[in-house]
Symmetry: none
Subunit: 215 residues, 4 copies
Amino acid sequence: MDTARIPGTTGEIPRSSAAESARRGRPRSEEADRAILSAATELLAERGLGGMSMEEVAARAGVGKTTVYRRWPSRGALALDAFLTEFQEQQPLPDTGTLHGDLLAALRGWTRSVTRTPAGRMLAGLIAEAQRDPALGAAWRDRVIEPLRARHTIMLDRAIERGEIRADVDKDVVLDLLFGPAYHRLLNGHRPLTDRFARQVVDLIVAGLSADEPA
Amino acid sequence: MDTARIPGTTGEIPRSSAAESARRGRPRSEEADRAILSAATELLAERGLGGMSMEEVAARAGVGKTTVYRRWPSRGALALDAFLTEFQEQQPLPDTGTLHGDLLAALRGWTRSVTRTPAGRMLAGLIAEAQRDPALGAAWRDRVIEPLRARHTIMLDRAIERGEIRADVDKDVVLDLLFGPAYHRLLNGHRPLTDRFARQVVDLIVAGLSADEPA
Amino acid sequence: MDTARIPGTTGEIPRSSAAESARRGRPRSEEADRAILSAATELLAERGLGGMSMEEVAARAGVGKTTVYRRWPSRGALALDAFLTEFQEQQPLPDTGTLHGDLLAALRGWTRSVTRTPAGRMLAGLIAEAQRDPALGAAWRDRVIEPLRARHTIMLDRAIERGEIRADVDKDVVLDLLFGPAYHRLLNGHRPLTDRFARQVVDLIVAGLSADEPA
Amino acid sequence: MDTARIPGTTGEIPRSSAAESARRGRPRSEEADRAILSAATELLAERGLGGMSMEEVAARAGVGKTTVYRRWPSRGALALDAFLTEFQEQQPLPDTGTLHGDLLAALRGWTRSVTRTPAGRMLAGLIAEAQRDPALGAAWRDRVIEPLRARHTIMLDRAIERGEIRADVDKDVVLDLLFGPAYHRLLNGHRPLTDRFARQVVDLIVAGLSADEPA
DNA sequence: TCGTAACCGAGACGGTACGTCTGGTCTTTTT
DNA sequence: AAAAAGACCAGACGTACCGTCTCGGTTACGA
């Protein structure tokens, strides 16, 4: 995934006036960065976002609280970066040759990440936190949702090129139909997120997209 | 809607040994009930679930915290009841004669509730809270998600009876495809929840369901 | 000493609107009062006022920080009460029959308290703290300095009655001459606070007071 | 006053191994010295010692914190030098021809300095700080108290030479009787530091010293 | 003229304590 | 026996300074 960490996006606090080429003062410790992120990741996996306090992150990382706040302005911003460190690159951009294959691979990749790794818990916690922290909500859209959608849009573009689906299809709606049900089950937990479920969703979407084709 | 408040479901605390016909002591004040619920509803609408503290609910209702906790075991449980008071009955069970009409009416009813009333904010806040409070998650499923699904299943049963769709369709998947995308947009806010969006979703689902029909 | 703790003086926070005879709600725990005061006294004796943090007082007393702040609004106010608990009653009101005997007993009582018990350290710390906290300064004057002066004034009144000194002597100045040098040595530490020193001070004051007598 | 700043006394940190005649490396900036001292003096006068943080001194002087700490090892040491810069030379060594005149001039000089210039606030703050920093306490005695006492002792020696007082008088006690009451009022603030007060103190001391004279 | 030593401003570092807030429980008196 | 009130313990919050450290860079001496 090419959403590599771009400093300054979530709440990443830029050093002074940015483009000042000769940075003054002691440089930020990269080791502290790593220690904080991995402490956050551990706590997130162990106890969920609610159980990840800045206090304990700092203590576990062997770092002062100011050192944490200097880098991340809020719990959510830190959790988001910890999540991305785990989650990024896990999401494949499949190219199987058919729309059905691509969508299925993408959806299964997602459902497996969230059911088999700590990413699911983190993801649910972050969406929850984003409901109360608008800044986190914006960062979440910009750094997670949109980059993933951009990648997945490519699958649809390829299907259009191949003539599998109409060129005027509303790709936003298709992507919401693909992932919305999965997020729904993850967050509400009313039914399990199985491979079979993923296939059924994809079957129906592909059938629906093909239905109004000239045949 | 038949999800009328059934004491004991969310966490409703029963009076002593329940079936004891002749209750002793001072009866619970129904006015306190109302004052608490409406204070909670106000705060929820004004500031979202994050801004609704038990402390302030009690203060605004002119009631001791104990009185609140005697009735609702947690912030989430109270918020859930406040939400249901607002949301219940708002969700219609349409009967238009066609599957497409029914699904569209149901989805539009939902999207309008969440975009035009405080219900949307409450709903998002409750799903968020449910991520950190498993008991609330269970109550949410039992008192909101499942009753709604039961009602909506009726629409699919009628379509089967009419022969519009196959009898062996997986109704769970269809319902997740119907509402999942809408929840997705509500919680992530990446695209707006428009009437047009509702129609596109329903169009595609109905097309997909009809595709594998014999005729 | 009759400066028994008068609630409301230092910063003692009164319960609600004071004269409300029937106090409602859970009463303040007297055990918490005791635990906090004795934790404060211990820390004060061990490490001085600088080493007495509210954090540690609360921890050592097994009490929440709010419970401490509910009673004492600042570190200084708490320290002042802890000091009085130790110091009060230690200061005698001598009645030896002569001015010289009375002044000497009073001054020696004071110097012995401050040199042989933890009171000296507390006293020095409190005067220090009072320099930066005006509210504490006022409480210090009202609850320590003035009550002591009132008691000591009695010695001078008796001497006037006996005809040992003139009736128009400025008692404030005499008291400052009596205790000022001792405070000076305590706070600056440039010379020791010995019994001999006390006697020399008293000798000179009594001589000075008698000098302008008709004889 | 001849207590001109003697480097190395308070905590003044000498450059390398001191007597090495040919100092190598960049010399210390005298401008930084001045900027720091005057920033400290300003802050001390504005907000007292409690409001003078090393952080803000450095910022206001436009200097790195290291540069401050290289010169003064602690807040107290810096404050002491700032105080001396203000206070020194203000204290006269009177020579009026009589003990009474000398003592009165000396005491009034002191009380006027502390009541009419920022020196009083600084002095009180420094004595306070010295209670928690023993090194500062020692420096305070060595650089302020003792030099002043040495000067004032001269007044007593002259009185002995003139035969005004006995040669075996304990000069330490007399000086504590002279200044102790004034420090007492400054630090406790229970009574004002007036010229009248100074005269009353001096009157009584001189009377007391003369009493046991052969006459 | 070059190297080296000590300085410079800036600012990050690990810590401690602050005073506030809320959660959920407990203990009173009053109804 | 339930109500209202309010105290209880616990612990996270974000801030302010502490005194130390690490940068890139400057200034002056001695080789």
